[in-house]
Every structure is written in C-alpha cells, then in structure tokens.
Symmetry: C2
Subunit: 129 residues, 2 copies
DNA sequence: CGGTATCCGTAAGGATACTG
DNA sequence: CAGTATCCTTACGGATACCG
C-alpha cells in the first residue's frame, strides 16, 4: 500500500463491495429513470444539443424540479455539458460529454432489458405496490 | 391491433417514455446498488444457491431489513427463487432464475462502467453531497 | 437462522410561486 | 425561458425488538 494521496482513488478503484467506495452512490445515481431518459435523448441527438424545454416536453411526467436536479447532477458528474446563450430570454443547451456518451452503452442495455421483460415481470405481480 | 393475448406484451411493450408504463418503476427498482450486488453474487454462484446469512456477510453495510426487502422484491419479480429447508433453525437458500440470470448481463455492464469511471467522476467533485 | 414489525430521521420528489 | 426557493407529503433506509 502507498501513502501517496494522489493514488488514493486508484487503491479504492471501483469496488462495489467496499462500503466506503463512491461506486455505490454512483450506481444509485445513474440507475434512475430520469437519468436513463435524459441520456437516451441526448445520445440520440449527439453531438447535437437539446434545450431544457424540449427535454421536458419529451419526458412526460417529469417535473421542472426533477429535470433541473437531474441535469445539475449529470453536469456536476461531467456527463453532460451545459451551454448558456446570453439572450433574453436566455437559452440553455445540453449535450453529452464523451464520458456521458460512454454511459449510454450500458444504460441502453439496461433500458432494453427492462422494456423487453416488463410485461413478463408485471404479469406475475398485478399488485404494483 | 390484435386480440391475441400472446401478443399483448408486444403492444404493451416497454415504453420508458410512457408515464403509465411500469417500465419506469422497474428501472428504478433494478438500478440500485443492493440489487446489483445480490444479482452479482447469485450470478457467480449460479446455478448454485446462497443462504441469507452468507449474502449479508458478503454485502458489507447492508442491513438485514434492506437485504430482506431486496430479496423479497426480486423474488416477487420472478428474478430470484427462494427455497426453505424446514429444519430448526430453518435455512433459506436463494438462486437466480433464468430471468434473473439474463438481468446479470446488462447489470454487469453498468457495474463495470461505474467501477471504471468512479475515480474520474469522483475526482471532479470532491464534494459528495 | 431468517425473518417481520415498529419507530424514526433523512432524503426524494411533486406543487406552487417567484426571479434574472 | 430556465431556472431557484419554499412547502409539504411520501418513500428510503437504519436501529431495535420480537417471533417461528
């Protein structure tokens, strides 16, 4: 083991089974439906951008707050880039970064699985508690 | 549209962007860290089984309640099979079903992504709010 | 051993109103 | 337009105690 603080994240490198590892939090963060939807829309548009209002329009049921929070988290994580056009009223454009685009791959697989087996699973439990 | 019940799941097929579609709830359900860990452990042991206590021991930080809830949900969704040995004290064994095993594929990809990019993301935000 | 039941603090998330 | 701020209600999740 080393005491070099710069290598701390290397030693702690992705071990989901380490309670102290941020991977756990990260997994819970990217596994949500809102992240899945935002990333899909932005991935389809890539390398183009989508404005806030259009994202909201294409994500039925999302509140302004949740979309805002989701985009802020993704931006903070470096998965989404935010560009503001200083007009009045202002226009804000979002696009995926390289990192965000790389997330779309496993995320699309998970989405596909969920969509494919939804009926099979829902059939067995009419009681959606 | 058809009235063939066998094609029902095709018509109702997973549309994540439909607010009424159970796919949304399903995605939020399977995207958690506990599900990810349980499925990974059971997939490694497949087609073998793992007992409750061993699962808990190999998932540091999980509470008895959360493991219980997670397993009950997975069992209810048909992803995990539960077998009780009526001894005293009783022994309960869990294993993945075929469906559960199929989930491991996309889930492993998502885990791998999270573990691979954890440092990269965490580096940008020392403030883990 | 493998749960369930209960309590409780925290966080998620919707609704509404307001701002640059 | 694209937010932020506030309030409020529900869900998540840990701690503890109890049961078959």
């Amino acid at each position: 083991m080393t005491t070099d603080p710069l290598r701390k994240h290397v030693e702690a490198a992705g071990d989901l089974f380490d309670p102290a590892c941020p991977t756990r939090r990260l997994l819970d963060r990217i596994g949500t439906k809102w992240v899945s939807m935002v990333v899909k829309l932005l991935a389809e548009a890539a390398p183009g951008e989508i404005r806030f209002a259009e994202l909201q329009r294409r994500m039925p049921g999302v509140s302004q707050k949740m979309l805002s929070v989701t985009l802020r988290n993704l931006t903070g994580d470096g998965l989404v880039a935010r560009r503001v056009e200083p007009t009045v009223p202002p226009r804000v454009y979002y696009r995926l970064t390289e990192l965000g685009l790389s997330l779309e791959v496993p995320l699309a697989a998970l989405r596909a699985w969920a969509e494919a087996h939804m009926a099979e699973i829902d059939h067995g439990r009419p009681d959606n508690h």
